[in-house]
Amino acid sequence: MLAYIIRRTFAALVLLLVVSAVTFGIFFLLPRLAGETADQLAAQYIGKNPSPEAMVAIKKNLGFDQPLYIQFARFIKQLVLGAQYKYGPDATTCHVPCFGYSFKNHLEVWPEIQSRLPVTISLAIGAAVLWVLAGVATGVVSALRPRSIFDRLAMSVSLAGVSLPIFFTGALLLFLFSYQWPIFDKLHYVNFTDDPLSWARNMVLPWISLAFLYSALYARLTRSEMLDTMNEDYIRTARAKGLIERKVVVRHGLRAVLTPLLTIFGMDLGLLLGGAVITETVFSLQGIGAFAVAAIGDNDLPKILGVTLVAAFFVILCNLLVDLLYAAVDPRVRLS
């Protein structure tokens, strides 16, 4: 088991490095291949009309006058050891982990991302708890009573959940519960550590609107998998052994369903941790998604690069955790 964990962790680290290299290549190699000169590349980092001095400073700071592999090594080194940028009246320190420095806003990228992480993590984790509980429970009950009123109703609602975009459900929830009946009015993010109750109160509507979409998907997926599983021979055997139905469902039926659910859950959660753009926009949450949108709007490459790496990190991390959970859920994984 330990060897499995080490192997998967090492693979994840290698994957992260590869993703970093690919991302770095997209930002620094592709423009070169497309014919951009070092000056043009540097100009994009300054944004406004670049003075010759500023161009020289950017090229030196980012190493545009050096081979790409050295630039990448420098990028990784800065990530681990930090960097000093000389641009403007004073030198600026980019602290560890140095994800880059926005020359347009004169801000380090990582603190900006870091300050937004609690918002996105709160949103993603809270919504995930909701959708897993609601989705899986609904799916299981629907599968156990196929074509019942509950099943038909649940699947209809889940179809609506899948069909309705978040910018609709979110705006509807806001209208109803924030303005029409101000139960959750004046929404603004509060840190969990400052006031857990207020944190939850302010996140309920974003959680629900996000979970409504995902729980619908999970309910349909769970129902489908459970229907297949509950018709397997080993389920009949379990029943024949005299196991009570609850144990048959939970220990034998649901456990088999967990593997595909975990797979998709890891992907979904990882993607959301990289920024739930629409939900954050609808609820004016200043998370990673809103940060990414603003960075793209500003064409602020260091910020875009930073948020891309963070998003990739979360996807890889969540998939690593899923891989490790596989081992707990399914012993065959360890054997393989």
């Binding site: 009309n49 001095e53 403007g88 200043q286 603003a294």
Partner: protein
């Protein structure tokens, strides 16, 4: 002056009116009351102060779509920041609080009186009030005013957003002054003298009648040099106003709290009512509107008015409509034509655009007559010097494709051509207007590709950067402009003077450099005769229209919703019809 930033002037006016007309007005100070307190009703805040109150406490919440160009008073050019910045940055002069045109009255702020001008009109002297302090308790010196002007006008590599009037008007050093970040000499710009800690003297190249207006810009708000680290100053602005920064998170939020070192006896304008001022950025406009209606927020910082869908809802509900203010704000909505971008370097091609546009459709896209009257010239009707001219008049203002095609033939492109039209992402009405223009131009063969850019960087990185515009083939730019101060010079100079073209933060988007226009501006700026100046402004208006570089669309009208929980609301012409932000409090 300001880009759709008509804000600055009105704030002070509103404040004084509140002080004097409110129930405790006798305590208010020296500013003259110019409006009367009112309980409400449609357009009430354009005629007086609504919810006048000296109630202290609570949090005043400002919300804004997008982000500002900068909260640094020396690096901004949006009217709403001109307005808002006076909470933490006191310029030498500002505008007396008051509704509508009453808000255009100029009064001393950091200075103890208006400028003393020399007989030849070349020297302006200001004396600071005594007892002024920053939020850290250190005294404010006239040297800090000099430094503030130097950093904001002579260091475009660091602070590029604001206008550069001072750089254009002040006598330069023998060796051109390079700004305080590059030129570390103790004298700095020698044409600004500080003979003592409370006196600042400006030496001009030529007489300039509007100089008292010019020093109302936040660029004269003092900045202590040791605390200035260039572009990073926005993260730790030192306050000279009634509020100071408690926190600032770029693109997210700024929290201001009362400045305990601000002394009300040095300031007849400000009241320091709220316990906290919370500015929230990047809020969806529909959410802002809902929050205003629900009373959760007190002010929409940008002050451009409610969203189109909210407007429709309000207009259908008499109760909501009674809480709105609809007024001119000395703002022109227009489309700038890049005179350096072929084929728009040909006047006839520009004329083709002027003639093709259906201004009624554009007006509708912007929200209808309630959001602006159709404009036919550059100078708005509420700016002195305006004359009713319409060089490109078409029947019913609906455009004339036939005449436009004739102009296209004259410019050598009878089949039309392709160009790029840019607008600001956050401004739905602007995007809608651009879309309407796009379809109208298509009828005469001009294919305009619309590109959107964020308002916070529109001038520093995109529309306001001639190199960017020229290299990307941008021919048309959506624009909205309010006077920097309520005179023809304050409205026109930055958008039509060829010498005001900047590498970044440029407002002369057309890159017009017409010697006739420049000369008229010089004549008007130095002429002591008001009537003669206004005649010059009318002549400039006509000449710019003849150059056909600006397509006037509408004379903008704000349509603001008054939050029930906000006190001391007054819409002022000085800041494009926005509410004066100086003394807004809350009942919550």
């Amino acid at each position: 002056m300001r880009r759709s930033r008509t804000l600055v002037l009105a704030a002070v006016a509103a404040t004084a009116a509140l002080v004097l007309s409110g129930c405790d007005s006798s305590k208010g100070g020296s500013a003259a009351p110019s409006g009367s307190a009112g309980a409400g009703g449609q357009d009430a805040a354009t005629k007086g102060i609504v919810n006048a109150s000296d109630h202290k406490g609570g949090t005043v919440t400002y919300e804004m779509k997008g982000t500002p160009d900068s909260l640094d008073p020396g690096n901004t050019y949006y009217a709403y920041i001109y307005n808002f910045s006076r909470l933490y940055a006191r310029p030498l002069t500002t505008f007396a609080p008051g509704p509508g045109q009453d808000g255009n009255k100029l009064v001393p702020d950091l200075a103890s009186g208006m400028g003393q001008v020399s007989a030849d009109g070349l020297t302006w002297t200001y004396h600071l009030r005594s007892g002024l302090k920053y939020d850290d308790g250190t005294p404010i010196s006239s040297k800090d005013v000099k430094y503030a002007v130097e950093r904001s006008n002579f260091a475009p590599k660091v602070n590029s957003n604001g206008p550069t009037y001072f750089q254009e008007l002040l006598v330069d050093n023998a060796t051109p002054y390079q700004g305080p970040y590059d030129d570390k000499s103790p004298d700095g710009l020698k044409s600004i003298e500080t003979p003592d800690d409370t006196t600042v003297v400006f030496h001009l190249k030529q007489p300039f009648a509007d100089f008292d207006y010019l020093v109302s810009a936040p660029q004269t708000a003092p900045v202590p040099q040791p605390k200035d680290d260039g572009a990073g100053y926005v993260k730790h602005i030192v306050s000279s106003g009634s509020y100071k920064f408690q926190s600032y998170a770029d693109g997210k939020e700024a929290v201001l709290v009362p400045n305990t070192n601000w002394d009300a006896s040095t300031d007849p304008l400000r009241k320091q009512l709220a316990d906290k001022i919370d500015l929230k950025m990047n809020i969806d406009q529909a959410t802002i509107d809902q929050d205003l209606i629900a009373g959760n927020a007190q002010v929409d910082l940008v002050g451009g008015g409610v969203d189109p869908q909210t407007q429709a809802k309000i207009l259908l509900d008499p109760k909501l409509k009674a809480k709105t203010d609809n007024a001119y704000g000395g703002r022109l909505v227009y489309m700038a034509i890049n005179s350096h971008q072929a084929p728009f370097d040909n006047t006839d091609c520009r004329k083709a655009v002027q003639l093709a546009i259906d201004k009624v459709a554009v007006q509708t896209a912007e929200g209808g007559p309630i959001r602006g009257q159709i404009a036919t010239s550059v100078l708005p009707p509420d700016i002195p010097g305006h004359a009713d001219i319409a060089p490109f008049a078409t029947a019913g203002n609906k455009g004339d494709a036939s005449k436009a095609k004739d102009a296209l033939k004259a410019c050598g492109h009878p089949e039309g051509f392709k160009t790029t039209l840019i607008a600001r992402t956050e401004r739905k009405a602007e995007i809608a207007a651009a879309t309407a223009i796009q379809s109208q131009l298509k009828t005469i063969g001009i294919e305009a590709d619309i590109q959107q850019f964020p308002q916070g960087k529109y001038f520093s990185d995109y529309a306001g950067v001639p190199n960017f515009i020229n290299s990307k083939g941008v021919g048309l730019m959506m624009m909205q402009w309010g006077a920097d101060w309520p005179t023809g010079y304050g409205f026109l100079q930055q958008i039509v003077d060829g010498r005001a073209i900047k590498d970044s933060g440029n407002s002369n988007l057309s890159q017009l450099n017409d010697p006739a226009v420049n000369k008229l501006l010089d004549d008007a700026g130095s002429n002591a005769d008001k009537a003669a100046r206004e005649k010059d402004y009318a002549a400039i208006d006509k000449q710019v229209m003849d150059d056909a570089v600006i397509v006037p669309l509408t004379d903008f009208k704000v349509f603001l919703y008054r939050s029930d929980t906000a006190t001391n609301l007054v819409s002022t012409s000085a800041f494009s019809g926005e509410y004066d932000y100086l003394n807004i409090g809350t009942t919550k």
